[in-house]
Symmetry: C2
Subunit: 420 residues, 2 copies
């Protein structure tokens, strides 16, 4: 019976949509032309596509799958040893960041580590200094939770040198969202025995810059994890294989990768990484150190440059997140900030995790500006650029979260636009 | 200061663990020897690992990441055109199945489809037959939800020919868990206008077997989706790129991949795929057709063959799921089913999704049997093998969910074991 009802060649989309427009008054989806795919295939790598895939035997089962030849998401830039690569936010949906597209940030490249030789030392102000192998770590009670990691420099170029041609990847691609699995740091601390007066610990990575950050012991007793898996599989090398520190909601740099040493003490170590970087100059000339928690933020991932729109309905979709708990509200403005609409939040809304929001919008063909604004459960509202500068000064170099979005021109082109 | 406190070479694990055993009475983690990694590295593909990664510049940023050379999960078997590949459950943690490790099941191979030419026809008992391009589908209000897909033949070989050397991959690897994004099928139906009397629809795939299944329209009005993304990115080819039907909780085969046609009608089409397969013979000689909902099930993924244990604490960890809503309870027995312990469930527990459970267990070195048992929110309890046979007969060939686990021998070896 399948063959009897095969798709009729003569029935074209144009005829059908004319029918829709007629039948339902052109309200819902009338005038839908073909939209360019966000991922343009590379003709050089696309194999011969059969005119009718039902007439040709397909590919056999494989040990590990590959993306379709028509789907080529990439992080950029590549080849940076001391640098970063941005996740292609405009090509991602839902909330999971695929492990191989998680943004990167490293200061001396990605080290090659043999997990059977890797160890984590816990020492300093403890009753019993301990060394854990990666296999020993995996024998503790495990915890799995989904949360974002955002580089505290995310958004710098959009803040300093905003350009209309910036994509969401360029604007905010230094954030990613992952299901992490590991052991609560407090369980390791319980084994070692925290001595009285220990209020800070140093986390040290095993890469060539020997990344070190000072963290309050209170965070270990709260929700810090030593993780060995992301999105169901062992950590990727760029994300700290075989062990990384995970401090939910805190600036990316403190989530020390390739974790090999934790030392407990009575005060911060004032390492290079917390004095030369990651501090926030304030308008009064002083500087704020240890701005651990990331502020609430949102970014519209679609529509975005270089998409081209046609009139009609579009989902305005993006992600919102905060280091202080759950996103309470994501709002979308389709008139440059004059009015705001509560967007729909993808359930379940998780604490300290990317939250997908969507607001349906019908474009009438006139120039306009789309913006998004996040509010977290503490009541904190994502600021405009001028509100941010008011509390931080123009010299701020980290922790950027101004309201932004996209300008849509009458010809349907879409450009990055920040709210002033 | 980092350099001043570098890891002391003379401080060995053995000394430290002796210290632990002494200090805390040998209770918690005493006697932890090195455990073999579940993924054994292939010496031929492991590059030279530096003795000290901190002394060598690491790798630069990359467009798309790769797994560590020490981590090589694979689906098996490979090379099957009409067949399947099983996900390596014992190497996975948390609940996300990485997209490239999602189990495969296809009847004529994986087709190569150009998304810009792919269309979905909705016709039959509708007011307005419609054709949707993949880009048009993406303009509808989007829904993201996490749920499992399980092949209804999952567990067949463990049921028919149980062998002690079976890994979780072999026992139950035809289930995977994914964050899917798409459009509610009822939204497409609303566009087409369902005519009175339409109670079933046919879903047809665009592969070379032209997979067809009949589905009640009620499922479309409930929670069926037409999905275009998995785990944040476009569907993988093996999972139906560019479009697949998603019927949360229903047997895998009904989630038609490479979806190209939906026809509405008044009764099931009785296609080859719902008459020759996927029916359940019953003890009275009749057969049950359209067993859509997958029953509650669980599998222990660790400890499992070929792991080798030593005495002491181990997490007994696995996944539980049901097609009828949420997992209410996962229990672990460490004495062959004489007593049961409520395992800890990873939050949030999502409806029709894999739920990770963990129970901490201290092995005393004696032979024993570990089992897991799932109960769903309807009160349904995963049956033993004999209970299953009682209601289905020995000839059952689909929908296997008997209680199983692992036998641990005094030398620490672990073997597959089904509860009789």
């Amino acid at each position: 019976m399948t063959r009897d009802t095969a798709m009729p060649d003569a029935l074209t989309r144009r005829e059908l949509l004319a029918g829709v427009a007629c039948a339902i008054g052109g309200v819902a989806l009338a005038g839908l032309p073909t939209v360019a795919l966000s991922q343009q295939p590379d003709p050089q790598t696309i194999p011969m596509v059969p005119a009718d895939a039902t007439k040709l035997q397909g590919a056999p089962t494989s040990a590990v799958g590959n993306r379709s030849a028509f789907v080529k998401p990439v992080r950029t830039p590549v080849g940076e040893v001391t640098g970063n690569s941005f996740a292609p936010l405009e090509q991602l949906t839902g909330t999971v960041t695929p492990a191989d597209l998680h943004f990167e940030r490293h200061h001396a490249g990605v080290p090659l580590i043999d997990p059977s030789r890797h160890q984590l030392l816990v020492h300093g102000l403890v009753e019993r200094p301990l060394i854990f192998t990666t296999d020993e770590i995996r024998r503790f009670p495990q915890v799995t939770r989904t949360c974002f990691i955002e580089c505290s420099g995310n958004g710098r170029s959009a803040f300093r040198e905003p350009k209309p041609e910036m994509t969401p990847q360029k604007v905010a691609g230094l954030t990613s969202n992952t299901e992490w699995t590991g052991v609560p740091l407090k369980a390791l601390f319980a084994e070692a025995g925290v001595r009285e007066g220990a209020s800070w610990f140093l986390a040290e990575g095993g890469d060539a810059c020997v990344m070190t950050r000072s963290i309050p012991v209170a965070k270990a007793m709260d929700d810090a994890l030593v993780v060995w898996a992301q999105n169901g599989e062992p950590l990727r090398p760029e994300q700290g294989f075989p062990l990384r520190l995970l401090l939910p909601g805190w600036e990316g740099n403190t989530n020390v990768k390739w974790l090999r040493r934790i030392e407990l003490g009575t005060r911060p170590w004032m390492t290079r990484w917390e004095t030369s970087k990651y501090t926030d100059p304030l308008p009064d000339g002083t500087a704020r150190q240890f701005s651990f928690e990331m502020d609430a933020k949102s970014v519209i991932t679609s529509p975005a440059h270089p998409q081209v729109l046609t009139k009609g309905w579009w989902p305005v979709s993006g992600i919102a997140w905060t280091g202080r708990g759950k996103i309470m509200r994501a709002e979308v403005s389709t008139d440059g900030g004059h009015s705001w609409h509560a967007a729909e939040l993808q359930e379940p809304v998780l604490s300290k995790a990317h939250t997908r929001f969507t607001h349906m919008w019908k474009w009438d063909g006139r120039e306009t500006v789309l913006l998004s604004r996040a509010t977290d459960e503490t009541g904190y509202v994502q600021p405009t650029r001028s509100e941010l500068i008011k509390v931080r000064g123009i010299g701020t170099d980290f922790h950027f979260n101004p309201i932004a979005g996209a300008r849509v021109t009458p010809d349907g082109r879409v450009f990055f636009h920040g709210a002033t």
